[in-house]
């Protein structure tokens, strides 16, 4: 092989490596631009008053209090509904389910549900919770819709966490005469708990950021009060942001940016907690 050709191949290889690195950086560059854009537009609007004031038609007096309260209500109820059902379903699928076609169908089904666009859940929520069950444009309708949306994700992550529990643990417990539920409740679930909690935080932070399904079930961009019960009407942070984005005046754009900063900060905190939990757990396992 000629020296010339070898040099060309090496140069090509170097160029390719550079292109690959640049592609990776391109994604990060977009992330940087996005965050920079939002910070530049919204930082001036951001103060403690912004967090404690209700929505207003006057941009200088508008705040995210109702949206924050609404988000807390919706996500709290979503967690309350989806967590026990998802963990229960995952435990059954992993520890109890007989190997029948129904079980296999349920497993495939969960995987496919996780791929359904979120707006389709919004349509479902509108038809079932808002209209058929007569819950109206309420916090409860929103929470139940989001619960349906996060359940498949939660079931999948919980299944993964349960599968990661070594089977020796189960065998030892059974050998000592434990019943199935004792094995599950005292060995499997405690061992899988950090994984389940990490998955739950991540799934719920997705619920915090959801906009489209909640617009369908009737969260509105202008609410001047915080919900005081599950049947109250509501707005959530992303819907409030969307409401501000669609206004033509530039002052509302700045409000939207400030709202985004609040939203991203919340998500960052939740994700850091999830990562911390996971790292502490893997450190303990390594020991």
């Amino acid at each position: 092989m000629s020296e010339h050709r070898r040099r060309r191949r090496r140069a090509l290889g170097g160029a390719f490596a550079a292109v690959c690195a640049a592609s990776t950086l391109l994604g990060l560059l977009a992330l940087g631009l996005l965050i920079g854009d939002v910070l530049l537009d919204g930082a001036s609007q951001l103060d403690t008053d912004f967090l404690t004031r209700y929505a207003s038609r006057v941009p200088e007096q508008a705040g995210v209090r109702a949206a924050l309260a609404g988000s807390a209500w919706v996500v709290g109820l979503t967690a309350l509904v989806s967590f026990p059902i998802s963990v229960g379903a995952a435990v059954w699928l992993e520890e109890y389910a007989p190997d029948r076609w129904t079980t296999r169908a349920l497993r495939t089904n969960v995987a496919n549900l996780a791929g359904v666009p979120s707006i389709v859940y919004g349509i479902l929520g509108l038809a079932v919770f808002v209209r058929a069950l007569g819950l109206g444009h309420s916090v409860l309708s929103g929470a139940l819709t989001l619960a349906l949306l996060v359940m498949p994700i939660l079931v999948l992550t919980t299944q993964e966490a349960i599968r990661a529990v070594p089977s020796t643990l189960r065998e030892a417990a059974y050998a000592l005469g434990a019943t199935r539920w004792q094995v599950v409740s005292r060995q499997v679930l405690p061992a899988a708990a950090p994984g389940i909690l990490t998955g739950t935080i991540l799934a719920l932070s997705r619920a915090v950021g959801e906009t489209a399904p909640l617009i369908l079930v009737g969260a509105v961009g202008f609410v001047a009060f915080s919900p005081s019960g599950p049947l109250d009407s509501f707005t959530v942070l992303p819907v409030q942001i969307f409401g501000w984005i669609t206004r033509p005046q530039p002052e509302f754009r700045a409000l939207a940016a400030a709202g985004i900063i609040v939203l991203l900060t919340l998500l960052l905190l939740a994700n850091s907690a999830a990562i911390l939990l996971r790292d502490r757990h893997s450190a303990r396992n390594a020991r």
């Binding site: 229960g88 359904v116 349509i123 479902l124 199935r180 997705r206 950021g209 984005i245 990562i275």
Partner: protein, 303 residues
């Protein structure tokens, strides 16, 4: 509640155990009910819609004018809008995602990967309404200076941000597939004198091709179902066009538009939500099944 009485009661009643099992099976059943609910709701209302609008006029009609006095419900403009945005997003995300995956899997050391991969995945965790804001306030003005004649609402801007949004889906799944390629193959290739690039392109990528294709299909399916960024950036003009610099309405954006306008229950417009929703659901479901099939069918036979 202490553990001791529980233990003593356990032998007496197998019924408690049985009850728990039934409860857990019920939980799993709820996930099945969710699917059933989606199907019943979408199909039920769609049937009512198609009683008023012939299926042929819906599937092949080229005008979507639901609010007109003489309404037209030809879904092609909405489908083409969705495909235009998703296609543009794929142009951005597929090459970037695969090249990122190659970098992370074949070039980056463990420390660099440990930093870069989570950072890249942050992109997937950002709410889509934020991408909408970014498109409208940053990407669109930039496009308008670069390409004169671009509208305030345009498909290209939506494509770009949705593309960025699905980079992590493509990169992460592709990288998993590449990392599953055994090192012995790389060693053999390098040992025969191939460069790193030749190893990556001719050995690793072909071995991981099923995972890479699956990541493409899944990414495009995400882009099709994407709602907020597209609604904000691409606008709400049902437009049968291939011009990325004009405003289009996607299926998802139409659904949002109608629900913001509070369509009265029982009207054709309200029912059209479900027909469009069904179309979207079937398209994404087909893509998700396709990606699962690709993974199962073309699993590389390497031991």
């Amino acid at each position: 509640m202490s553990a001791r009485p529980d233990l003593s009661r356990r032998r007496a009643t197998g019924r408690g155990e049985r009850l728990i099992e039934v409860f857990l099976a019920g939980c799993a059943g709820v996930t099945g009910l969710a699917t059933l609910g989606v199907l019943v709701v979408l199909l039920g209302h769609s049937v009512a819609f198609f009683a008023e609008v012939p299926l042929g006029a819906f599937l092949f009609g080229t005008r979507w004018e639901p609010m007109f006095e003489d309404p037209r419900f030809g879904v092609l403009p909405l489908v083409s809008g969705s495909l235009l945005v998703a296609g543009g997003a794929a142009l951005v995300a597929l090459p970037t995602g695969v090249l990122s995956a190659i970098f992370l899997s074949e070039y980056a050391g463990p420390r660099a990967r440990g930093v870069l991969k989570p950072l890249l995945e942050v992109l997937a965790g950002i709410p889509t309404v934020v991408y909408g804001y970014f498109a409208l306030t940053f990407v669109t003005p930039l496009l308008r200076t670069l390409v004169p004649g671009t509208g305030v609402f345009n498909a290209a801007s939506a494509s770009l941000v949705v593309g960025v949004m699905i980079i992590p889906t493509v990169a992460s799944l592709s990288e998993d597939a590449m990392r599953a390629v055994p090192d012995s193959l790389r060693a053999a290739s390098l040992g025969l004198g191939a460069t790193r690039m030749e190893t990556a392109v001719r050995v690793v990528v072909p071995s991981a091709v099923s995972g890479i294709v699956a990541s493409f299909v899944l990414g495009v399916s995400r882009a099709l179902g994407e709602t907020m960024a597209v609604t904000i950036a691409a606008g709400s003009l049902p437009n049968l066009t291939l011009d990325p610099f004009s405003s289009v309405q996607t299926m998802t954006a139409y659904i949002v538009q109608v629900s913001l306008g509070e369509a009265a229950q029982g009207t054709v417009v309200y029912r059209s939500l479900f027909a469009v929703g069904t179309t979207l659901f079937l398209m994404t479901l087909a893509m998700n099944l396709l990606s699962q099939w690709v993974v199962a069918r073309f699993r590389p036979e390497i031991r």
